[in-house]
């Protein structure tokens, strides 16, 4: 773990206005839950759209996307990455430091509102399940989107296609795609830790844990390899 890279990454992330523009999203989720709860609606009616649709369908992946693609992508875009790369550091140290920042920030920014919403919908146990699931999701999504920022110049766009088209649209129509859907792993793990009638799972626990591991480690290894071959292009003179 390289603490210098970690500190510079965290300061860059919190210094960007884009990051704070994301915070209304989790607040919206808690607000909707509180409103429904306050109006006396049954959790069976409001929890699936708020927790599954908004929370795990939008808040978690979008925060992970903007943060995960930004921890390295922003430095690639503005060229400051050169200062970090022109050092005798193993590339895995750089990737791991970036990944830790992305996972921790995403997990905290999503975990807290998830817990609050989970307690309102069912119980602290259910809230804890959502926190564990979201943290697992934060790791897998962050690793994926971090790798994307090294594979394409438009990581946010490609990431949105994955989240909205693959997980959101195809995941509902073609059940086969759910095995490759991080959202399904999150739901399965959350339901296992805090069982309730509110979440419908579609993959087994071993598949969810195994595939989340494959996503996280695979994407990280890929990112390390891509960073080793990082080229400066487009400004040759």
């Amino acid at each position: 773990m390289n603490w210098t890279v970690l500190r510079v990454t965290a300061r860059a992330l919190f210094g960007r206005r884009r990051f704070f523009l994301l915070l209304p999203l989790p607040a919206l989720m808690v607000g909707l839950a509180a409103l429904a709860d306050g109006l006396g609606a049954s959790p069976v009616d409001w929890a699936p759209p708020v927790i599954l649709g908004l929370g795990l369908g939008v808040v978690l992946p979008v925060l992970a996307l903007v943060i995960g693609a930004g921890v390295l992508g922003a430095e690639i875009d503005d060229g400051t990455i050169v200062h970090i790369l022109a050092k005798p550091l193993p590339r895995r140290e750089i990737i791991l430091a970036k990944l830790v920042v992305a996972v921790v920030v995403t997990a905290v920014a999503v975990g807290i509102p998830m817990y609050v919403t989970g307690v309102m919908a069912d119980s602290p146990r259910f809230g804890l399940g959502l926190v564990v699931g979201s943290t697992l999701g934060a790791a897998a999504y962050s690793a994926l989107f971090l790798a994307l920022s090294l594979l394409t110049r438009r990581p946010v766009l490609v990431g949105l296609v994955y989240v909205l088209i693959w997980e959101g649209l195809l995941g509902n129509v073609l059940s086969g795609t759910q095995v490759l859907s991080i959202r399904q792993y999150v739901i399965t793990v959350a339901d296992r830790v805090g069982p309730s009638d509110l979440l419908a799972t579609s993959v087994s626990v071993p598949v969810a844990l195994g595939m989340a591991f494959v996503f996280t480690v695979g994407a990280t290894v890929l990112a390390v390899d891509r960073l080793r071959s990082f080229s400066i292009v487009g400004e040759t003179s």
């Binding site: 390289n2 210098t4 300061r11 050169v82 005798p88 550091l89 080793r228 080229s231 400066i232 040759t236």
Partner: protein
């Protein structure tokens, strides 16, 4: 040799950016000279390990620089793009560099580097409040913090005022005198002339000339030149000039005057006033017609 390129080429699709360059650099300051778009940055990026050569080998202190981060312990790079982490202060930026290099005493190394570029008075300010020249200097400090034996700088004088230029030139001189290998790129002849004794001239991706600056300078001044000349009697002057061995050809245009193609710059410019005086012809104007840097470089390509 601390930097070696062996038959290095780099292409992007069908476009050849660098074509079969072989060069080796030892201690001292070397200027990488060439017009914009010649491939200087591509060469520097390949040496710095930020671009793979399509063909050939790039070695820094005997090791390939591509996919080999360990070369950076002896290599410093100041890229042309002036991007820095603007939210850091100058001091934090240089100190972070020292820490990333895992230096034993990062504070002392950062202090020394900041003092070397005379940025100590502004080190507590955020970099995004710096002027262009100050940013350039803090970037130089960050790339010197680990005392590298090879330093690469891409157009280091861009955006600097005359005083900062002089200071940077002194710094490069001092580093070269200490035996470090300093390679900097420039498209301005005078900059290179003032800083380095050795130059590598790149034109259209090829190494056009290489070696001592004075030799190349002579090659440049001895090349054929085209002049336009206006005088009190163009026709007679043209006839007299044609008899001169240093003149290869003369065109007479009533509107423009004479266009003279001289075989070599020095002899012609010495002969013209003598001839005119002997013939009692008043020379009103002598203009070199092809003094652009590109034409100098193009000539060098032809003669290399």
């Amino acid at each position: 040799m601390s930097v070696e390129l062996r038959a290095v080429s780099r292409w992007y699709g069908n476009v050849v950016a660098v074509n079969d360059i072989t060069m080796s650099l030892a201690g001292g300051v070397t200027g990488l000279l060439g017009p914009n778009g010649a491939g200087k940055t591509t060469v520097l990026h390949m040496i710095a390990g930020f671009l793979a050569p399509s063909k050939g080998e790039v070695l820094v202190q005997g090791q390939p620089s591509w996919r080999n981060p360990s070369v950076y312990s002896g290599l410093g790079l100041v890229s042309e793009r002036e991007a820095v982490h603007g939210f850091l202060t100058g001091w934090e930026f240089v100190l972070a560099s020292a820490k990333l290099h895992r230096l034993r005493d990062p504070d002392a190394a950062a202090r020394r580097a900041v003092e070397l570029v005379e940025m100590a008075p502004a080190q507590a300010r955020r970099i995004d409040t710096y002027s262009k020249g100050m940013r350039q200097r803090i970037r130089v400090a960050a790339s010197l913090v680990h005392d590298p034996s090879v330093l690469l700088l891409d157009e280091p004088f861009n955006g600097m005022d005359p005083r900062q230029r002089l200071q940077m030139m002194d710094l490069l001189h001092a580093m070269g005198d200490e035996g470090r290998t300093v390679l900097f790129s420039s498209h301005i002849l005078e900059e290179v002339e003032q800083v380095s004794g050795t130059v590598q001239v790149i034109v259209a991706g090829r190494l056009a000339a290489s070696g001592d600056y004075r030799t190349i300078r002579r090659l440049m001044t001895n090349r054929p030149h085209v002049f336009t000349v206006r005088s009190s009697d163009d026709r007679r002057l043209g006839a007299v000039l044609m008899a001169e061995p240093s003149v290869n050809g003369v065109d007479l245009d009533p509107a423009l005057g004479l266009t003279v193609r001289a075989g070599d710059y020095g002899t012609f410019t010495r002969t013209l006033p003598k001839l005119a005086r002997a013939q009692r012809i008043r020379v009103e104007r002598v203009l070199p017609a092809d003094e652009s840097l590109e034409s100098v470089f193009t000539y060098l390509v032809g003669s290399s």
